[in-house]
Amino acid sequence: MAVPATKLKEKKEIIDVGLEEGAARLTYERIEQVINRVITAEMAARMKVYVDTCIHCGLCSTACHYYLSHGTPEWAPVGKVKQTMWEILEKKGKVSPEFIKRASIIASTECNVCRRCSMYCPYGIDVAYIMATVRRICHLLGVTPQYIQDTAHSHSATMNQMWVKEDEWIDTLQWQEGEAQAEMPSLRIALDKEGADIMYSVIGPEPKFRAQLIYQAAILMTAAGVDWTMPASPGWDNSDMAMFTGDFEMMGRIKRTHFETAAKLRVKKIVMGECGHAFRSVYDVGNRWLGWKMPPIPVIHATQFYYELLKEGKIKIARKLKEPVTLHDPCNIVRGRGLHEMMRYLVNATCENFVEMYPNREQNHCCCAGGGVINCGPPWKTKRVESNSIKAEQLAATGVHICIAPCHNCHGGLEDIINTYKLNMHTMFFIDVLMKTMEIPDALKA
């Protein structure tokens, strides 16, 4: 399972209409005006501290999978800051449209805002925050890659990521309910059941492409005897690409819809599917933009929920997976929430042969899909995959054929890496593992 040498030889120009046309509309005046507005009205004091504190030591370089995969300084975290924010601040916003286009490419397609580098920086400089601010400037200037911009538009029009219309959403739930009832006749996906204990929320791609995950969640909830509901109105999608384009006003609107949907249903908590960035948006970023210090209705990531169900004996494992498995720690629920030991409990409870990948836990390499990078779409796919040969090496070194990855973006990113580098592996969500290993009480079987 050797990894072919695929270091990127040269940077090929990628044409993205969102960037090209966006930059073509810019004037120097507008750029300067927008940047200065962000500097004076929006930038936190920590930005100046970060910029003033950085001693250009380069210790952050080896934290970044882009640098580890390409090996040249422009891919290092500090290199990305140098090419973007330093220049922006030094020139007080007097930069060209071409510069903004390049800054958008760096911030949106060469950084996953994964926050690994801040652990390596002796001063804890948060390069992800700096890159997110660059994206914010690019958003306000209208220079954002086309596909992720389209996703942000979908959020704005439908409150979900995939242009899923209201009737399509409900219809999909009813379809999955019908299918799952063949296996478990008493199963029900209760829509808008006020006063249920839990609202289960998912991300847009689930009804669109991965409806079986909803089916599986319904099986799990029924087997565990959970009183749960799903909303029949917008607010069901917990994801948030507006957070990653820098459209914070839209991010706030999406999060408000999500939490108010839960509040209206009078549920005690929200359990969300296996998604990392969505967790970041509800637990850390979007809620806070609205003024909520913490989520106003507690949000539990699926992995924590499964862990609790197992610990409390609400679900039981009938048989363990025999094949060796490895585990990919998603940045947003590990560096962002510290769920790594719970995930290891889950793997050990459900699999006979667990092979750690190295590095792991909060040191794990990012999948290179998160932070909105995979959402920049097909034009950027090759670059994204080539920028994570280090991940391919890390996966290959485990020697196993199954990689558990409890995050949608990680799934997409890892599958692309697995295919490109021919790793003879496949990814699974924890819910996939549970469906193969969990005990289904006889009384519930068809």
């Binding site: 086309q146 538009h153 006749p185 029949a232 108010e260 909520w292």
Partner: protein, 421 residues
């Protein structure tokens, strides 16, 4: 209120039905719903042959359906459900399906007296509303939020009027695709986005929160945007009891929120957050849920804050009928509370439901939950615990409370004098 005058306020206890026994009649029975007057309890039931029906006070509807969901009583006590037959969907009212059928139906709403019932519909991938079995003549690419006037005469909806191809990012943000349709007739003006909206009580005006391009938020009234643009806005409401059209909305500028009426700020104070603005019934007072600082939530009345703040959430702001008192739900350190005029009831709960004022405003009652049991608390004092219950209703003289509850699997309609709390 006018409806409740006709209800039976004398029979202290009435055993209406025993929903726990319905399981023996059907393969499956879902959660129960009750009528506003408490005289009916109903649930969606599945027959052994896989068809669905509604069981009302123990009696099944005559018709059965392939599928059924969203069982809801209207204010007049009629029972509705969204049903499908032969792959087509419609609304069934008291068991009788509408004549018109659609590819899909959802989001049922009633006007104040329940005589007007509306649903969203999709037919041949075109979207709109059907009102009392009549679909709008004009259907659209998609439909968002909708509202109706209390008399049920006017409906306003956010609609996508212009088709959009895949990843047409510049068309979406520059030209726009959304507008507002009133009784099916779309405004001429097209916006990038349209979200929450409100009709003036007489139905003469409609205001909506809109975005033009990616950065300019404002309110559009009757198709015209306020000249003022903001960094963000939330949904508008009209001031009641005035002949003027006064659209009132939270607006954000320079990172802070305040309230504006027809584009002009009405409060001096600015907040980290401000939303769910609501007028007293007489239109004289204006209140909103606000965050005076990050992570601290309270209520502002005419710009002045309650003395207490809560660190998680404030929601369900409710004026008393005379407009002199104000209640809300708050969440603080993980506990749910009822707050009246800024003072929380001493008890803390696992969940609470919207507070209800007596007609004279002197009493507040609320459904509350603790340890999986439910009760009604009146001015903070709990009644006895039940397996399930519904929001309380005060009698027109304010001396009694209608309690609709399930105890030992039996559904009771009770009239409880307030002295029993």
């Amino acid at each position: 209120m006018s409806e409740s005058k006709k209800w039976d306020w004398d029979t202290s206890e009435e055993l209406i039905a025993t929903p726990s026994e319905w399981k023996t009649k059907f393969a499956r029975v879902q959660e129960p719903y009750v009528s506003p007057d408490g005289k009916k309890v109903a649930a969606i039931a599945r027959n052994e042959d896989g068809t669905y029906t509604a069981c009302v006070n123990g009696e099944a509807w005559e018709n059965t359906y392939e599928n059924m969901w969203n069982l809801r009583f209207g204010p007049d006590g009629r029972l509705t459900a969204i049903v499908s037959e032969a792959g087509e969907w419609t609304l069934a009212v008291d068991g009788v399906p509408w004549e018109n059928k659609f590819a899909y139906v959802w989001d049922t709403k009633f006007n104040e007296d329940g005589q007007t019932i509306a649903v969203k519909i999709q037919q041949d991938t075109r979207y709109g509303l059907a009102v009392n079995d009549q679909p709008w003549e004009n259907l659209f690419e998609h439909i968002g939020k909708y509202v109706m006037t209390p008399d049920g005469q006017y409906m306003a909806a956010a609609v996508q009027a212009v088709p959009l191809g895949q990843a047409e990012v510049f068309k979406f943000k520059d030209e726009g695709t959304w507008t507002v349709a009133v009784n099916g007739n779309a405004w001429e003006k097209i916006f990038t986005n349209v979200w929450g909206l409100d009709c003036s009580p007489d139905g003469k005006h409609v205001a909506a929160e809109v975005r033009m391009g990616l950065y300019d938020y404002t309110i559009a009234m009757d198709g015209e945007m306020w000249p003022e643009k903001f960094n963000c806005v939330w949904e508008p409401v009209f001031r009641p009891k005035t002949s003027e059209a006064l659209a009132t909305a939270p607006v954000r500028a320079a990172g802070k929120w305040t309230l504006a009426v027809n584009g002009k700020p009405v409060w001096d104070s600015k907040f980290v957050q401000c939303w769910h603005q609501t007028y007293s019934p007489d239109g004289r007072k204006l209140a909103a849920i606000v965050a005076p600082s990050f992570g601290q939530w309270t209520v502002a009345i005419d710009g002045k804050l309650w003395a207490t703040t809560f660190n998680e959430l404030v929601t369900d702001l409710t004026f008393s009928p005379d407009g002199n008192r104000l209640a809300a739900i708050a969440k603080d350190d993980g506990h749910w509370k009822i707050v009246v005029d800024g003072t929380p009831w001493p008890a803390m709960y696992d969940m609470v439901w919207p507070p209800v004022f007596s007609p004279d405003g002197s009493k507040v009652a609320s459904k509350v939950e603790k340890g999986g049991k439910y009760t009604i608390a009146l001015n903070g004092k709990p009644w006895r615990e039940c397996e399930a219950l519904w929001n309380p209703v005060f009698s027109p003289d304010g001396k009694k409370v209608l309690v609709r509850c399930i105890e030992d699997g039996k559904y009771y309609r009770r009239i409880v004098p307030i002295s029993e709390f």
